[in-house]
Amino acid sequence: MLVQSPTAPVDEAEAPADAQGTGTGPTPSAMSSTEPTPSGGADVSAATEPSTGRLDIADLNVYYGAFRAVKEISLTIRPHAITAVIGPSGCGKSTFLRSLNRMHEVIPDARVEGSVRLDGIDVYDAAVDPVQLRRVVGMVFQRPNPFPTMSIYDNVVAGLRLTGRHSQASLDEVVERSLVRAALWDEVKDKLRSNGMSLSGGQQQRLCIARALAVNPEVILMDEPASALDPVATLRIEELMAELRKNYTIVIVTHNMQQASRISDQTAFFTMGDDRAGYLVEMDDTIQIFTNPRNQLTEDYVSGRFG
C-alpha cells in the first residue's frame, strides 16, 4: 500500500522570533497559556523518531475546579487506526477527547494531572505551545461549523493562513488535496468561491474535515461527527474515515455503538463512577469489545442492558 506523504506545509517561513514582548503589564485571561521557551524554529536535522501519531495516555485526570470529570485514564491510541470511545452520556468522553488537544483549557479552572504523550512528547509540557499542538492534533466537532463569512476555499485554508504567507499556487494545491481527501472535491470544485454555508449538513461536515486536514495533522479527533447528520450523510462520513485512517490517527467519540463496531479498530468503553467522574472500564480490539468483553459493565452496555 503506497503511503502518501503529504506535501510539506509551507510554514515556519517567518522571520525568526522577534524579541519576546517584554513585560506588557497584566494580561488577565480566562484561559491558561503557556509560553514556549525560545528554542529556535523547525530544525529538521534533529534526530527524532519518525512521527507516527501515537498517543500514550497515562493516569490522566481532568478537573474543572474541584470537580474531577475524568479519572485515572491510561490507554494507548494506536497510530493509523480508528479508536472509538463509547459510553453513556456524561461519562467524560468529550472531556477526555478535548484533553488530547488541550481544548478543554477554554474553560477556566480546567486542569489536568497525568500525561498525554504524542510520539513521546508530553503535550502538557511547559515547552509545548497549545497553538502548535492543535496543528498536529486536529478536531472535528459534532455540529458542522464552517466559517459563515468565508468561501469554501477560504474555509479550507483558514488554518494554513495563520502560519504565514503562502503562494496562491500552494494554497490551490492544498485546497484540492484536502477536499479530495475529504471526499468533497467533486461536489464543490466548481464553486470554491461560493459561501460555505450553501452546502448541505453532510457536505459542511466534510468541509470541516477538509479544513482540519489542510494543516496536515497527525491525529484527528472527532467528537460525534455524524450525530447531527442524516443516515446517508453519516454513511459517507464513515466511508471517509475508513480512507483517512490510512494516513492519520483517528479518535472518535460516538454514542452510536453500531457505528463504533463498524468502523473502529479499537474501542474504549468509559462509564461514570459513583463519584461522577468518568473512568475507563475496558479497552481492546473492537471485535473483542463487542463479542467477548472482559468486564461485565461493558457487556451490559454493548448488549443494551442497563442497571
Partner: protein, 296 residues
Amino acid sequence: MAATTTAPARTADILRAGAGGRRMWFDRVMRSVALLASLACVIPLGAVLFFVTARGISAVNLDLLTKPSRALGVGGGAVSAILGTLQMVPLAALLAIPIGVLAGIYVHEYGAARSARTIRFAADVLVGVPSILIGIFVFTFLVLPFRQYNAFAGSVALAVIMAPVIMRTTEEVLKLVPGNLREASLALGVPRWRTTLAIVVRTALPGILTGIMLAVARATGETAPLLFTALGSRLVNVGDFGKPMDALPLFIYVNARQPYDLQNAQAWGAAFLLLVFVLAVNVLVRLGSTSRRRTP
C-alpha cells in the same frame, strides 16, 4: 504498517518549535492594547467625577441650597432649581409610569406578533429621538397655543422621554418571568387581568422598578427638553405649573455661561448635586440587582 515520513516537519519539531515569536508577540501586544483601550474608557469617568467633586463640593453651602438666584454676580443660590426639579420630575414620572408600564404589559402579554413588533419598534425609535426635538414638539402644543412657558409642559416633555424607556425595560423584565407561573395561575381559574397584575407583574416588580428609577435618573439630568417648555426661572416657583419653573440642569447651563466666577462656582455645585443623585441611583440599582441574584 510503514511509518509515514512527513518531511520536513516531524511531530516533535512542530511541538517544540513554538508558534513563531511574531504570532505570540502580536497576540500579547493586541491583548494588552485591548486592555489599555478599556482603561482609556474609564479615564473620562474619573476625570469628570474628580473635577465635579473638587470644584462642586466647596460650592455646596447653605446659600446654594436655600437662596434663589439673584442678579448676576451678586450671589444667590439654586433653591429655585432644586425645588423645580423636585416638582417637575415626580409629575413627569406620574404621567410616564402608567403609560410605560401598561404599554410594556400590552406588548408582552397581548401583542399579536405583528402589532407588538411595530409598537416595540416605535418605542425604540422614540428612545433615540434627540431630546431637544421632544422639547420642540411639546412646545408647539403646550406652550405656543397659550403663549406661555409653563412647568407642566416641562413635565410632559420629560414624561415623553421617560415613557418609551419604561415601556421597553418593563417588557424585557416581563419576558424573564417563567411562563409556567402564568399558566399555573390561569389553570386555577384566576382571570387573566388579575394573573397579569398580581402574579406576573408582581414577580417582575423589582426589575420594573429598576427601569423606572433609571428613567427618572435620566429625566432628572435632561436639559434640552426644558429649554422651550419650563424655560427656567430665577423666581422660586412652588406649585404653579402654569408658569415657568427652574430645574437643576437648566441652572447649571445658565450659570456655566456667565462670566462671573461665583455663578460658575454655583454651576459646579449644582452639577455636584445632580451627579451625586444620578450616580447614586445607578449604583443602588446595580447593587440591588446583584444582591437579588445572590439570594437563590
